[in-house]
Structures are given as structure tokens and as C-alpha cells.
């Protein structure tokens, strides 16, 4: 796909209004869907498209929708996960703030597909402006008859509410999100049962990421078959927003087909490494995905290719680190985040994340030992796969991969009793926990 979909109106402040959206073909996909598609046909179309969850896990969207038990007498809910908080990720925020109707149209079609009459957008608490824009966009859509009773004369009813999050990373975990949406503490739930069967208010619930839902109008407009042709293969199909941050000359948000080469993304589209420095490491898909060394980045950015080299596509939040980055310090920073955001419900994550922080602080401040390096990797292994929700894994994966791939640097910290890296002091980082 040579033309842009998400970013086609970049820089145009009008893009968020419904008039602009309608003038450029907006809500046509909804009209088409309500007119000539049965709900199950929408699910089939999305299955055909090969669309996979853009929140990070990459679960096939159409398949997820088909898990909603239609014989359940309870209402069905669609929940849009707009709690974008993964460090390095800023794609949903763009959609919310600049293309809110793309999301709303996608939500209406998706709700129709799962026969839901009430949908929620759970938006990260800090996204104050985004919440306001969504409220305005929803009011516009309601006024135009895209929401409410009998949408476009189809007999289908739907309303969408915006719910602002309470301010915790864990509320982006889908079951933590549901608890929070129900007004409780955002503690992830045990699974099974999965939300598609027992979700919000004990009713069948589909939770999809903003970008996932915003893809749906395009799929319905051009067809699942067409969409599945985009990208390297039908299992990794479609278009994708890539977030590039860190030591590059042109950080920002990029849109390509699935399967953009990571090296090309960094060196061509993001303008190469900052100040002509050398590349040291890349976190490809948001802070929780295992780090890559420079010799590993000639890889297609898609779910399966990245999994094949031991990392994850995640949310495509690519974080680039140059030679002035201390990998111990970088991991220390990351683990402080995860320790701070651990909900504290289960033992390995609550205790393990803070233990890792304490070890890393010691290593970075020259008080660590060589044994601490192995201990760190070992603790990460003891958290991995043993927790209720993926936050434990999210904290463990960077630790394991940083130690594995930059082991020498960790050992040097212990041997020299100080940080051996010449850091670029022009970039200020505040050390809240030091």
C-alpha cells in the first residue's frame, strides 16, 4: 500500500473533525457494513484480513471475536484499550488525538460484529487531551446518527463511553483494565475464564487495542482479502504504525506495511543514529520486549520474524540506544518502571521486580559483584511465566536479554566498581529512586 492510511492527514488540525472525516470517505465502511453485512460476515471478513492485535500480543482479531458466546443472555461489551503506557509506544495516542473517528467507526463496526450495544474506551488517565477529543468526536458521531438508537436506519443500537483510567500501567493489562472499569482496584484476573466469555460485569467482552480497531474500517472498505495481501505474509498482514524513539536523528511515528526491515527503519526512515554515534542496542517492540544487538537488526518487523530471533513485535515501540548508553543504567531505569508499576498481587512480580532494581542500582553505582549479574538473570527467570498477568514477564524479559546480550558490560561494572560507559551528559535523566 503506497498511500498512507493512519498518517495521511499528518499536520492537519482539521483531521479530527467529523466534517473532514466525512469529506474524505469517513463512515462509508460503516454504511457498507450495516447495509450488506451480517455480524458473522464481519467477523469472517476480519478473519480473512489476517488482522492481529496491535496491543502487543498479536492475537488474531477475528478469531477473538468469534469466541463471544452468542447464547449468553448477558449483554456483550466491546472495550477499546486506550491505556497506551508501554515506554517507547505512542501510536494509539496519535490515532486518538488526530483520527478519533477512525477509531469510533472501527468500534461501531466491531461492536456490530460481536452484537454489542455498549462499548467503552478505557483511556489512559494522563491522556487528558485525548479524552476530550474523543468526547467531542463521540458527540459529533451521535449527532450525525452514527451512534445511538437505530444507527443509519439499520435497527442497530450502540453507544460508546469514554472512561479515564486511574493512572496505572497495569490497567492496560486487559483484565486489570476490566477491574478498573468496574470501579475496583486494577488487579489482573486469573485466566481462564477469558474476557470473551466472562469479562466486564461478568459478561462476554472483547478488548481490542486502539490501532487494531482503527484498522477495521479499512478492512471493511477494501475487503479482508485485499488487506491480507499487505505485509510479508498472510499471517503478518496489514499496515502498521512504528514508533521510533531514542538515539536517532528523526524519532517519531511511521506508517508502513507490516514487515518493515528494522535496520531500514532506523537508518533510513528515522535518519540514522544520533550525532553519528554507533548503535549499541535496539528494543524493537516496546520496553518489555527483549533487546537486540546491532548485528541482529536486519530483520523484518513482524510478529513471527521477531519471535524467531527471540524477541517480540509487541507494540512496535522501537527504542534505539547508542554507544553512550550504559546498558546497566538503561535496564535499571526500565526495572524501576516495572517495580513501580507492579500491582503487587502475586509474589514473584511484587518481590522480584524490586529485588532486580536493588541489584541494578548496586551494579550501576559500583557496589555490585560478578555474582550479582548471574543472580539478576536468575531472578528474572524465576519471575518469568509464574505470574497472573504478563507484567511479570514484561519485567523479566528485558533483564534476561540485557544480561545475556551485554553480559561483558555488566561484568565490567562489577569488576571496575563503577560504570565504565562514557555517557552523553547532554541528555538529562532524573534518577527518582537514587
Amino acid at each position: 500500500m503506497s498511500e498512507l492510511y493512519f498518517l495521511k492527514n499528518r499536520g492537519n488540525p482539521e483531521s479530527k473533525t467529523i466534517d473532514f472525516y466525512l469529506a474524505h470517505g469517513g463512515y462509508e465502511a460503516l454504511k457498507k457494513t450495516l447495509k450488506s453485512f451480517e455480524p458473522n460476515d464481519v467477523i469472517e471478513e476480519v478473519k480473512k484480513s489476517g488482522l492481529r492485535g496491535r496491543g502487543g500480543a498479536g492475537f488474531p482479531t477475528g478469531l477473538k471475536w468469534s469466541f463471544v458466546p452468542q447464547d449468553n443472555p448477558n449483554p456483550k461489551y466491546l472495550v477499546c484499550n486506550a491505556d497506551e503506557s508501554e515506554p517507547g509506544t505512542f501510536k494509539d495516542r496519535y490515532i486518538i488525538e488526530h483520527e478519533p473517528h477512525m477509531l469510533i467507526e472501527g468500534m461501531i463496526i466491531s461492536s456490530y460484529a460481536i452484537r454489542s450495544h455498549l462499548a467503552y474506551i478505557y483511556i489512559r488517565g494522563e491522556f487528558v487531551q485525548g479524552a476530550r477529543i474523543l468526547e467531542e468526536a463521540l458527540a459529533e458521531a451521535r449527532e450525525k446518527g452514527f451512534l445511538g438508537k437505530n444507527i443509519l436506519g439499520s435497527g442497530y443500537d450502540l453507544d460508546i463511553y469514554v472512561h479515564r483510567g486511574g493512572g496505572a500501567y497495569i490497567c492496560g493489562e486487559e483484565t486489570g483494565l476490566l477491574e478498573s472499569l468496574e470501579g475496583k482496584r486494577g488487579w489482573p484476573r486469573l485466566k481462564p475464564p477469558f474476557p470473551a466469555v466472562v469479562g466486564l460485569f461478568k459478561s462476554p467482552t472483547i478488548i481490542n487495542n486502539v490501532e487494531t480497531l482503527a484498522n477495521v474500517p479499512l478492512i471493511m472498505e477494501r475487503g479482508g482479502d485485499w488487506y491480507s495481501q499487505l505485509g510479508p505474509n498472510p499471517k503478518n498482514a496489514g499496515i502498521k504504525l512504528y514508533c521510533v524513539s531514542g538515539h536517532v536523528n528523526r524519532p517519531g511515528l511511521f506508517e508502513f506495511e507490516m514487515g518493515m526491515n528494522l535496520k531500514e527503519l532506523i537508518y533510513e526512515h528515522a535518519g540514522g543514529i544520533y550525532k553519528g554515534h554507533q548503535l549499541k542496542g535496539v528494543i524493537p517492540g516496546g520496553s518489555s520486549t527483549p533487546v537486540l544487538r546491532p548485528d541482529e537488526i536486519d530483520v523484518s518487523m513482524d510478529y513471527d520474524s521477531l519471535a524467531a530471533i527471540g524477541t517480540m513485535f509487541g507494540s512496535a515501540g522501537t527504542i534505539v540506544m547508542d554507544e553512550t548508553t550504559c546498558m546497566v543504567d538503561a535496564l535499571y531505569n526500565l526495572e524501576r518502571f516495572y517495580a513501580h508499576e507492579s500491582c503487587g498481587q502475586c509474589t514473584p512480580c511484587r518481590e522480584g521486580t524490586m529485588w532486580m532494581v536493588k541489584l541494578l542500582r548496586r551494579l550501576e553505582h559500583g557496589e555490585g559483584t560478578v555474582e550479582d549479574v548471574d543472580l539478576l538473570a536468575d531472578i528474572a527467570g524465576n519471575i518469568m511465566g509464574r505470574t497472573i498477568c504478563p507484567l511479570g514477564d514484561a519485567a523479566a524479559m528485558p533483564a534476561k536479554s540485557f544480561v545475556q546480550k551485554f553480559r561483558d558490560e555488566f561484568i565490567e561494572h562489577a569488576k571496575q566498581h563503577k560504570c565504565p560507559v562514557k555517557k552523553d551528559k547532554s541528555i538529562k535523566v532524573t534518577d527518582a529512586n537514587a
Binding site: E341, G344, C346, T347, R350, E351, G352, T353, W355, R386
Partner: protein, 524 residues
Amino acid sequence: MPTLKIDGKEITVKPGMSVLQAAKKLGIEIPHYCYHPALSIAGSCRMCLVEIEGHRKLETACSTMAADGMVVHTDTPAVQKARKDVLEFLLINHPLDCPVCDKAGECYLQDYDYTYGTAHSRFRKEDKRVRPTKELGGNIHYVTNRCIMCTRCVRFYKDVVGDEYLFVENRGYKSEISVFPGKELHTKMDGNITEICPVGALLDKDFIYQARVWHLDHTKSVCPGCSAGCNVDLQTQNNKIYRTRSRQNMEVNEFWICDDGRYLFHKYEDLTRVESPLKRAGDKLNVTSWDEALSIVHDRLALIKKSDGAKFIGAVGSVFASNEENYLLKKIVKDEIGSTNLFVYAPVPEGEDLSFKSGFTIYADKSPNRKGAELIFGKLNTDFWKAIEKGDIKALYVLNADVDFKLTDAQKKSLKKLEFLAVQDFYMSDIAKLAHVVLPGTYFAEKTGTFTNHSGRVQRFSKALQSPGQSKEDWAILVELGKRFNPDWKMASASDVMNDLAENEKAFKGLSYFKLGDQGIQIA
């Protein structure tokens, strides 16, 4: 009905049963902290991880439902390692102050670490998280540093009490248990959280620093605090009760007791006990021997029977006395003396029953054995005052077992009309002070017997303490007295009395202490 295999043993269980429960049925212990059979599933301590064939990761046995064809392993190297790792995580910030911790000896962190943990710590002790202890209200003392965040206490209020008092404050490694702002623990159920807390975090201020738990003797008993008949464990040392804990009985109190019952034993500690038999000399009660005291009672009653007739002799049983005691009193008065003037002391319940979400109820009827008294005496005749006033009764034998027994001035005046008043009592109650003879009895912790609770369940309580001085178990006093009237009485133990009762009282037919066991039998 799913059939699964755990450690090579096959078992068929009810649908909806967890792997942990199924393993328990097979006698396989899967260690756990957050799981409690009476509470909702948290699945958060991660101690009960097991290996299930075909599953990618280890699963929590508490939250994984048993499924047909499931093959579970609870003791593989992966499971053993997971347990070690969880224990290591739980212990890094634990103060390891077992020598001064009240929970030592009954602490699951200790027990599991000995069984499943490692002896060495890889954690630098200077890194330990230190937080102040807190008072949560009532008798509950919270040692924050020892808490492992299993949230049993939080779920106890939610699931059992039905009103949320506790919650987890803060997040992650800063998490701790707190009382909701503006609330304070005062639910009459609070003591239970000190029992379900698997570590030394929640402590009962009534017991703190009083004893080491391994020194305590345990006696199976029944709480006499109301008609619920909660099963309790009296924990004693050097002939003193240190604490009362609940004893599981799924038919009665499940896992719980109320705080009224928990601290009831203190009520008996302040009483002035009668330590030897007493006989009246004018205004004074003088110490006498058992032989003389019983002879006086026998002789005076026999004399009144002879001069005035048996119907002028009355006796007062009690809804606070055991089945055995009431039965023996009836046997003496009806069979040996030949009077039908059997009264029962049975105060009218005040207020209403207090029920909690789980169904646990504190009954307004504060007597433990009203039902039993009804089964032995028939309709309870409580109005002995009128009979005394009218002069229909000249001699009265009173069996008092109520710690709160009080007399009005008018009642005291009435009693003075009696020619003879014998009182069997364990403390210097209002009525004992007016007696011609006082026979020193005992309270529930010092004797053996049975109560019949509100639902008609007969349950045994056993002697936990030696009674002071020359006082005796009440059934033994009554047997001795009975023998004065009829030397053929052969009963020599509380168990013998129960056998006699079971032979002669229809409702109790066929019962014996052996059959009652620890959990009692429903008879009505």
C-alpha cells in the same frame, strides 16, 4: 464427573473442584498461602504451582479446575524449583524474627520453608524493606514487615463477614494491608483473621507475647457463649487458658468463632470461685467436707420429704448446664425423691441473632443448651418464684451454671422463705450466698459433658483445666448425691452418665461419647 490423575493416582471428583482440592482428597498436600477453603480464589501467592501435562506453563492448583483426563504432577523438579523460588521471594523482605514472633510454631512460612525451601539466602539483608507495625482496631495488631500479602484477611471480610474493612494499600512492593479510611475493626469476627493469617502479620493483642504455641496443650471443646455451639480448641498451659481458637466443623461454625466466644474465658477468670463445700452457720458460710455437705443435703431433703411430702421439694436445672447434669438432676428429683417440681433456669433471649454473609450466626440466646434442657425436661417451667412465694416449695436444689446469674432484692427475699436451699455453683453467685449448703462445681473448661445446640446437635466438650481446691465436675457431684439416695447408682464417669442418659431419654437414644466423636451428632 471428571476423572484425573495426580502423581499417578486416579481420582474422580465433582465438577468445579480444583486440582488442589482433588489432591487433598488423595492425601497429597500442595502447599499454599492465599488459598483458603472458605474464601474466594486469589491465585496470587503462586505457592501451589503444579505441572499439568500439555500445559505450557506451571499452573496454580487452587484456581485450575480438575478436568477429565488431566494428568497432574505435584513433585517434579520444575515444581520443586518453583516452590523454592516463591519462598525465596517471600523471605527476602521477611524480617526472620521467628524467635520473637507469636506465630512461630504455627507459621506456614516457617513450615513450608523447612519442607520446600533452601537454607541460604541470596538477598543482602541491608536491602530489607522495613515498615512500621500498625493497629487495625479492636484486638488486631498488624506487623507489616511479616505480611506476605496473601489477602486472606481482606477476602475474609468480603466473603465471610460481608462488609469490607480491610484493603491493600499502595502498590507493588509497597503493598500493605490497611483498614478503609474512617473504619475500624469491630465486627465481632475480627479474631478470625489472626487464625487464617498464615504468617505472623496479624496478631491477637490478647495473646501477644503470652506463650509459645508449642507449649500449649489443646483440648477439644464447645463454646458455651450462645446456642450456636461453635467448636473450639482451648489452648492451655500451666492450668490456664491462653487462648480459644476455632475448631473446624462444617456443620456448625465452619472455620470461625466470634470474638464474644474467643475471649469468653476471661469472664471466668475474675470470678470468686467456691473452692470447697460450704455450710451455713447463721449469717456465715463455713468450709466443710464433701461428705458432710452431701450428707446435709441428703438428710434435709429426706426429712422434708418425710414430714411434708416429696412435692415440697423442688429443683432448678439450667439451660447453661450440660445434658448430663440436667439429666442427673432430673433422675435424683424424679426417680429417687419422687417430686415432679422440676424447674429450669432459662433467661429469655434479648436482642436478635446476628448473621454474617457466610451464614455464620451469633445467636441472641446466650445459653448453650436450651434445646438439650427442652429434650430432657420437656416444656421448660421457669417459674419457681411463684411456687416459693405460695409456699408450695420448702426445699430447693439449684444447679447454677450461668456466669451472669443475678438476683433482684425481691427474689432474694423470696428465697429466704425456703426451709432449705442447696446450691451447686462454681462461684460465689447471688444465689450461692443465700444457700444453706454450697457444693462447689466447675465451669465448662474444667469439666466434661455435652451441649445440644440450637439445631439439635449434641456435641462434646472436654476437661481442659484442673478445677481449684476441692471443687468437682458437676456431673460427679450429682452422682455422689444420687448415691446417697440410691446406693445402686454405678456411674463413675461422664461417659457413664451419657450412656445412662442415652438409655433412658428417648431423644438421646443410642448416643455415646464414642459415637459423638469430635464433631457431634444431630438428634433433632
